[in-house]
Symmetry: C2
Subunit: 342 residues, 2 copies
């Protein structure tokens, strides 16, 4: 990203919040060494903690999506499902959630009520209880309407070593459906695009789907990860780096909604880098892949599931076999493609 070099390097850029390459640099160079010292291989969607002989998953996310209401959802259900999904990606059963609201003075109480109702519905659907919270109000112009933080605690009730560092040669990479729907739905609303086809955010809780994947795959389930900010490309690159393996994607196998494909084509966006909020990538041992895939297809959130790639030896690379038979390198999102997508 050229602006990275052309501006004062002391400044935080939008790209530092993209979930892509700059985010990783900020995390690796400053945030993680200062706060926790967790190594790259330990970076997963949630921390897994031992307490009293039990394992808990713990995760946090702040939501700053713009617009706050979009086709298929709003910032409230997004904030609940996002944290539920981060717990689910550790194979954890979601238990408890906190919610921290930062509201701009003058925000509509009616809209707040709608957002809170959406949070409650999403929490009920995922089976998680919202048990504690906090509300701050800042003067007009000091925040953009509403930001929501959710933190979640889940119970890890399996003995599996599910981690981004656990991909193994021969493993299949499975996705549960079409890519890019959330990011394109939000962007189309934000830009006021008049689409002929409705594109809805895929925002959904994945814990039920994950329970099925674990039931079907057991120890064969090596990695679970939800491709949110930075999209499928960035998430696969993270897995490849953490596991020190190569992942090869098959472009023709990638499920893609035709309308999303059209918008991406018009706007010059690559759907591989567009955020999802109801998708997961499962990296599964080859002998279990078809069984896991079948189980996913039986779930309402997995009807379009597909095997989209495989893992081989070799250090931290992602490549894509294109539909016409070529091979191209896939890197993390550089800079910021769609700011404030979640």
């Amino acid at each position: 990203m050229s602006s990275e070099n052309s501006v004062n390097r002391d400044l935080i850029l939008l790209g530092h919040g993209s979930g892509g390459k700059l985010s990783h640099q900020l995390l690796d160079d400053l945030i993680i060494p200062t706060l926790s010292g967790i190594a790259l291989a330990g970076q997963n969607d949630a921390a897994v903690l031992e307490h009293g002989g039990r394992r808990l998953a713990f995760t946090t996310d702040s939501y700053v999506v713009d617009p706050i209401f979009f086709p298929g959802g709003n910032i409230g259900c997004l904030a609940v499902n996002g944290t539920v999904n981060d717990l689910a990606m550790m194979g954890a059963r979601p238990l408890f959630m906190s919610t921290g609201l930062i509201i701009e003075e003058g925000f509509s109480r009616t809209e707040l009520a709608e957002i809170l109702a959406s949070m409650r519905s999403a929490a009920d659907a995922a089976g998680i209880s919202i048990v504690t919270g906090d509300t701050k109000v800042v003067p007009r112009g000091k925040a953009d309407r509403i930001f929501i933080n959710t933190s979640g605690i889940g119970a890890v009730e399996h003995d599996l070593a599910i981690s981004g560092a656990n991909a193994r040669p021969g493993d299949a990479v499975i996705i549960n459906g079409t890519i890019g729907d959330h990011g394109i739905a939000v962007m189309a609303k934000r830009e006021g695009l008049d689409l002929q086809a409705d594109i809805l955010s895929d925002c959904a809780p994945l814990n039920g789907l994950v329970a099925g994947i674990i039931a079907a795959g057991g120890e064969a389930v090596h990695v679970l990860r939800d491709p949110t900010r930075g999209g499928v490309a960035t998430t696969l690159k993270e897995i490849a780096l953490q596991s020190d393996k190569t992942i090869t994607l098959h472009e023709a196998a990638l499920p893609l909604n035709g309308a999303v494909r059209g918008v991406c084509s018009i706007l010059g966006l690559d759907p591989l880098y567009v955020a999802n909020e109801g998708k997961l990538l499962a990296v599964v041992a080859p002998e279990a892949a078809e069984g896991v895939l079948a189980r996913m297809k039986d779930h309402p959130l997995g009807r379009d599931a597909a095997i989209i790639g495989h893992v081989t030896e070799g250090g931290g690379r992602v490549q894509m076999e294109t539909a016409v038979g070529g091979m191209r390198a896939v890197e993390m999102l550089a800079g910021e493609q769609l700011p404030r997508i979640c």
Copy 2:
């Protein structure tokens, strides 16, 4: 607060984030019924949860303090200590913390590094581990430099019924030191006041002090609460309402730094409503009060501890016996005295 009636009632006001009366209205009318259905008597600084036969405390707070650097601390140590203290107020031992950063594009990486270092020092001092986090960046003008959410998990290892609903007639109300230091330190910096005496924020982790209080008082410790937003007055009113009791304060007994008294006097602020970040109110059975007080005075954060009031029968009232012998009613903070104090 007259503006409450003169503006569109659908709008969120600064006072809804004050921690005072409007905050309680918003919580009671909208947020709690929608999200969780927790009753008034269940509203404490942290939720206490049962999992696997063990009790966990879970809490969240977002920090939006302005300025982000102030005498005695910055937004980073404030965010850590605030959440440590919410856990400590349930008598919980702090274990794990998350941190969610919302950063404005263009924020200084050097200042970010300083804030993170301060968070790490505060976490180390309190014995809590920062185990998971999230970073979002929003475009310039869409947030004010940096907001930090921290959520914390603690272990409740006692059988005590510590709760704001547990004050009993005859109980003593004890505070561990001077009131209003944090609020006045932040406000003086914000307003550029040239004070002859340094007023420092009292920002500190209270879990060590609480361990001593519980060791000394045991079952006699009925309530622990930290008087942050809304100050001592608002916190005592919350306790009086939750417990359905009357609390009588003795003005002459209130520890108050002379410089804070001076600034309050000049600016027309009542220190009873000014935020603290290293203070706690302990409501303790009379036979144990002197023992708890002595133990507090032995701790570096309790040297100026004092018995400042007592509990009697009667519904949800707080009153103050003034220094000249009068009696006045003490209500919750109405409106917003000092916005963005934490």
